[in-house]
């Protein structure tokens, strides 16, 4: 048995790197600083390591060759999932460039709420260490933070802070969803303030809050069931903060249509607060299963986040048109390559087109894909890099065991090689 310390996690979004694991053969146990999300990520048992065509065991090269045949004959292939490490995304984009695929990260509809804001008006944001050391007022919008990031409060709010005399004095306010547990309660028992409203009322509530921050008169007494006087007090609190932070989970905002307008209103309000002479920053939370990694690597490789089409031989970005689920259900795609190296439960959408899965070892299917190639997990089976939630810090993932599984990069490169019979374009 081996014990490994300071293990970074690609699962929990915040890039926790204080984990201790025990490795025995291919079994991993989280023994220190674990949480529900990381336990599920790290302790997942291995499944069948053999590649399969139509459910029958084949060699890796045989499976890669079959995958290449499907992709070669496809008119409009899609590469979905896109949940892997930096090197995996590099190989994925190289392959997509060669075959003219649509590339669509599985978390894009959530991330789109942030991207549409970034691309329309921008924002002022911060990162986790600034939150930890400076934040005196934290506003959580429309998100049950501790289910998204279980250790957020323990690590970033109730721990040492360089620039606060007493971390217990930090003020936490929830707007929209109430917290599901007690993580946001300070160690001394100070509970978070909750201004609860339905998800559907959030656009109205944040619009009123922004108006109050700007000093605009509001005649109504309530917005979304919240007393305007309470929102006024919140606006005053933000304007009086030394270093206010407003956080949200782009996928947690609850409404399916135009949640980006909530993000935009909040982000513009943060700019207003800074223009009124007070520091305030946003903290969009994402970073699970490689979604930020996909967007970052696609960003520097193509100029766009990870919903692009290469069918014209150069990348084209459209945040709606290249939604792979819609394309598949509309009959606009004829082969699906699903890449998911982190989560055995994140399976490809059920569809009638030929499906190739490059998936975390252990993934099981109701309907066997045409080709299944099990791969290792970045940060467990091989080294790699992954972005954490604040989108600035890339963590160096460790190799914890040798289970003989190939990496995403190795498999996708083998498929590209089988397609081309030649080396990559550089």
């Amino acid at each position: 048995m081996t014990e490994i310390n300071e293990v970074p996690s690609p699962f929990c979004g915040v890039g926790t790197d204080d984990l201790t694991v025990q490795v025995e053969g291919s079994t991993i146990r989280l023994t220190h600083n674990g949480c529900a999300v990381n336990a599920m990520g790290f302790e997942q048992t291995l499944g069948d390591k053999e590649a399969k065509i139509d459910g029958k065991t084949v060699s890796l090269s045989g499976a890669a060759a079959r995958a290449a045949e499907f992709l070669y004959s496809a008119k409009q292939p899609i590469i979905g999932g896109c949940a892997t490490d930096v090197n995996g995304m590099r190989a994925l984009l190289s392959l997509a460039d060669r075959i003219g695929a649509v590339v669509d990260n599985m978390g894009f509809n959530a991330a789109r709420n942030n991207f549409l804001t970034l691309q329309d008006s921008g924002w002022m944001n911060t990162t986790l260490a600034e939150v930890k050391n400076r934040c005196d007022v934290l506003l959580v919008v429309g998100t049950d933070l501790e289910t998204v990031v279980p250790r957020f409060f323990q690590r970033y709010l109730w721990d040492n802070a360089m620039h606060l005399a007493d971390v217990q004095q930090r003020q936490v306010v929830y707007l929209g969803k109430a917290p599901s547990g007690a993580a946001s309660t300070s160690p001394s028992g100070q509970k978070a303030q909750v201004l609860a409203c339905d998800d559907a009322a959030l656009p109205e509530v944040v619009a009123v809050l922004r108006a109050l921050v700007k000093g605009q008169p509001i005649r109504a007494e309530q917005a979304g069931g919240i007393n305007v006087a309470d929102l006024q007090a919140l606006a005053d609190k933000l304007l009086a903060a030394k270093y206010g932070v407003i956080t949200w989970g782009a996928g947690a905002l609850g409404i399916n249509n135009h949640a980006e307008l909530i993000v935009q209103t909040v982000s513009e309000m943060i700019k207003d607060i800074n223009n009124k002479g007070t520091r305030c920053s946003g903290l969009p939370l994402a970073g699970k299963e490689g979604d930020l990694t996909a967007n970052q690597v696609c960003g520097w490789t193509t100029g766009y986040p990870a919903r692009v089409s290469f069918y014209k031989s150069y990348p084209i970005y459209d945040p709606y048109l290249y939604d792979s689920k819609t394309m598949i259900s509309n009959g606009e795609a004829d082969v699906l390559l699903w890449v998911q190296a982190f989560n055995v439960n994140a399976k490809p959408p059920l569809c009638d087109i030929p499906t190739i899965v490059v998936g975390r070892c252990g993934m099981a299917f109701d309907k066997e894909p045409d080709v299944f190639i099990p791969v290792g997990t970045p940060g467990i089976d091989h080294v790699g890099h992954a972005y954490r939630t604040d989108n600035v810090v890339a963590i160096r993932l460790k190799k914890l065991r040798d289970a003989g599984l190939p990496s995403t990069t190795e498999v996708l490169s083998a498929i590209e090689l089988a397609l081309s019979g030649a080396s990559h374009a550089n």
Partner: protein, 553 residues
Amino acid sequence: MLIKLTGGKVYDPASGVAGVVQDVYIQDGKIIGKPEQPADKEYDCRGKVLMSGAIDMHTHIGGGKGNIARTMLPEDHRIDPVPRTDITRSGNGHAMPSTYVTGYRYAEMGYTAAFEPAVLPINARQAHMEMGDTPILDKGGYVMLGSDDYLLRILTAKKDQKAINDYVAFTINAAKAIGVKVVNPGGINAFKFNQRKLDLDEQNAHYGVTPRQILQVLATAVKELGISHPLHVHGCNLGVPGNVQTTLDTIQGIGGLPMHLTHIQFHSYGTEGDFKFSSGAAQIAEAVNKNKNITIDVGQILFGQTVTASGDNMRQHANHKFANPNKWVCMDIECDAGCGVVPFKYQDQNFVNALQWAIGLETFLLVDDPWRIFLTTDHPNGAPFTSYPHLIRLLMDRTFRNDVLSRIHPEAQKMTTLASITREYTLDEIAIMTRAGAAKLIGLQNRGGLAPGYFADITVYTDNANREAMFEKPDYVFKDGELVVVDGKVIHTKWGTTHIAKPNYDASVEKDLKDYFDKYLTMKLGNFKISDDEITEDGRGSLTAHPTVGGSA
């Protein structure tokens, strides 16, 4: 294979050769003396101009703020798609091109190396990963210090210079950098304490430290550690009318220590005239000419759409009202630094923009020593790097320059001495600024020259009185002896190396740092340090360490 480049006119300032017809021989990636045996392959370079591959010593090609700029401006990519070919990857261009396109387009202009000047320690992995996806070019980075809480804490604690040197050397090693940059010294930190401006002698509200002190200790550290590249300084008050005095005070205040003042155009503004905005270029040039410890690059602006991406979130926030299109990003980052990304559209009929253009050119033309001034647009901040051939023509062709001058905002024409400056840069001076001088400044061994023993990074141009046409389309570009560009188009790709420095330090600094990381930061110290494997494990990257010089470490 033995390659002979026959009969070209060679400009090799590193060897003092200026326009002499010489044959150049290449073997195993390096330049060699005249061999006994006949060449396997010969290129007829008669009537052509030979220089070493150009080196961009300040260009934002890797790191988070660049990717924010890319992601924020899809409309800027849509106008410039770059299709895939059999040998090159697809991508997009214009102001902040994708990484592959960056590599190809630099090479197609005859550049073979480029250096990212603003590597945040905590974001260094990303900078290296982006540069690792930038083909053909050699690359490297200057790591940013000066607004990090750790440095300000040890200054407040009155730790000695040795402690600072150890920390600086540790950081250079951990981030795999070749130099050190400071951006708005202490100002990015002060912005987090809600200070909105910070003059050279103004104290950080929390730490009580001034920019002058930060510059002093960092410039001293760089010198004492024997880092070749002088402290790379983006000064206080970027873009503020009247900042010429700040810049002159900064030169004076460094007390003779080596210092590189970057994109100095943005720091050369006076307050004279009807619009309270005037050129300080003559005063800056005079100070640079007089103080031999100072080097500068210009950060020329050129008219058109671009995006500004800087670590200086204090000044970028102040400038957000000029965002065009109206969207922008500011970030505070990890008790380390920050960034600000603001799109700009420089217009020749805008008085300020027009005068900025003239101030940059005045600076180029009034600084005497081409070994101490470097050709940059601070890509993409003043203009995309793809505008360099146009800039070279402005410097080399007075008629062309005055023609453009005659079309800018009339009030700006009245506020510049440009029309009266007769100087035209020579090919030798261009070769100094963009090759030999840059290699010397960064401390690159065996790069930026054409003598035997140098790496065979070579650009061959057809001599053309239209210097823009000449420099935008070289006949041949060789990288490490391999022909990569013909007639201005990539015909073959390869991967360049990453240049780094590895100054020594007392390992005991890591003990205090470990405590600091454990207590305040969100990453373990062991996970913060970038390992060699991270650069090389994909089989494409490599590291080239350059020695420190005359340092006490």
